[in-house]
Symmetry: C2
Subunit: 271 residues, 2 copies
DNA sequence: TCGGGGCGTTCCGACGTCCGGAACGGCAGC
DNA sequence: GCTGCCGTTCCGGACGTCGGAACGCCCCGA
């Protein structure tokens, strides 16, 4: 089992670029799948328009993907992502040593802080959440319907960027999109948050993604001493008043402790 | 949002049959993906051998899928399932009304019984677990590294088959594979468990999949009265002594109550 | 240190599969 | 009932794709 897949950074997004790789039909099939990230249900016409291919081609693609279970046919000729993708996805993360090792510590952290706990990695310039443990008794429930965030407005993203110059560059090149009035969109100020993150050993994110919600993250490190890099990060997210008020020191300590213990456990397990 | 994808039954497995659908390369690409359900890591040679295609073809397929993020390249030319599949999979289940509606009730059920709680649907002749809520204080932890079971040796599968003759037939046609000395492999006896399930309104499964572990399941129904069908099922799984001993009535009541409430909530939400 | 085997990758020509346009059939709305 | 929209099917021509063989690499054993 491997700690993490290779493409932790820049897995070549290729949102609309002309796929120049071989196996054109396979490439377009993947592009067809990608259409369903934005829209939950799509028909042949819309897919064809979005990809600039013939309607008949789109129709064949949809049918072929549905035959393989990657898509499923809804009633009126529309399609949606299939459950087989859920299976594959579960297999993919189950085989990640990182997740397996981190899980018990995430559970403990949730018990300690009684807030939502997350485990995230970088995928391109986004943060992908491999795990999210919710807690019942944390007042309002945190939104659970996303699994990917722009890295710049996330405490996990900040932690990951702080130890990875190429990720930092990629994020800045993509641009710091404003989500709330509090999102840090000035490159210089954003870079300063990274410096602070390195000094403190943890990152915070106050109201920058969803107003009223803040998070604190700490890095899970790998590599030899002196050249350590964050492969992932642990974060706690909750209402801003609970995160950055009087409880902040306790939360910070909990997050850092969990991340450090996962780091150690990961080293032992991958040896 | 839709309650459940269409292919709740028989999404055409086609494990090794000669794909007669168009888009041959897409079909083989899907077949390549399928190879990774059994093995976590594969190279071009093994994929080619398993599918009976040329090594060069397999290599191109792997490269194309990796370019799309569905696979990721491990160090030495080997590949594994990519994190993008995890994303797609999460999207697929997030868009299921069933899961969204069921979640709070599953959480409550876990608090009540303090055991692992599952939500499952039928996929072919297997049960696919859409959600599994573990509990910290339940003694030994239940194995968490699978998301798909043969339906015949699962209480959820029994509940689903009990209200679906075509699923029953498909399961029997595939054959009742023995997993433990307690697995019901006699078709007649197995049919009787379905009858009992219908009479009781819930199903049990004692030591049939993993010795020492048993489960109790109740159906989530849909459709008009008189012609109701189980689209999914809730189950509680734990050590056999805790499941089928003195606590059994309490567990049964809890499971049935949760399933009934999800049924009602689903009707209201999809109207 | 050297040689061999295994593996992933690349190259090439011939084959055949896939693309795009147009026509068909079903559905919903006006 | 008509009309527009959409998913699906059919067809011929173009070009992407397949399989075999050769290459380079790494690992293993001598």
């Amino acid at each position: 089992m491997t700690v993490l897949p290779f493409s932790a950074v820049l897995p070549e997004d290729a949102s609309d670029g002309p796929e120049d790789s071989p196996l054109r039909s396979v490439s377009t099939a993947v592009a067809v799948l990608d259409c369903f990230t934005a829209e939950p249900e799509l028909g042949a016409t819309k897919v064809a328009a979005r990809l600039g291919i013939a309607k008949s081609t789109a129709c064949r693609m949809l049918a072929a993907l549905a035959a393989g279970g990657l898509l499923e046919k809804a009633g009126s000729g529309r399609y949606r992502l299939g459950l087989r993708l859920f299976e594959y996805g579960q297999l993919a993360v189950d085989r990640l040593l990182l997740r397996e090792v981190a899980m018990p510590f995430l559970g403990e952290l949730r018990e300690t802080v009684r807030e939502t706990v997350q485990l995230g990695v970088a995928v391109g310039t986004d943060v992908l959440y491999l795990e999210r443990l919710e807690t019942a008794g944390a007042g309002l429930r945190f939104r659970t319907d996303y699994h990917r965030n722009p890295a710049h407005s996330s405490s996990i993203g900040r932690v990951l960027a702080a130890s990875d110059p190429s990720l930092t560059a990629a994020i800045l090149e993509r641009g710091l999109e404003r989500r709330t009035p509090f999102t840090v969109v000035d490159p210089l100020r954003w870079r300063r948050t990274l410096v602070q993150t390195r000094e403190q050993g943890y990152a915070t994110c106050r109201d920058e993604y969803d107003q009223g919600w803040s998070s604190i993250a700490a890095p899970i490190l790998t590599g030899v001493t002196g050249r350590r890099r964050a492969v992932a990060a642990v974060s706690v997210v909750g209402a801003t008043s609970r995160m950055l008020g009087p409880r902040k020191p306790a939360v910070v300590q909990g997050v850092r402790r969990a991340a450090d213990r996962i780091t150690v456990a990961l080293e032992r397990a991958s040896s």
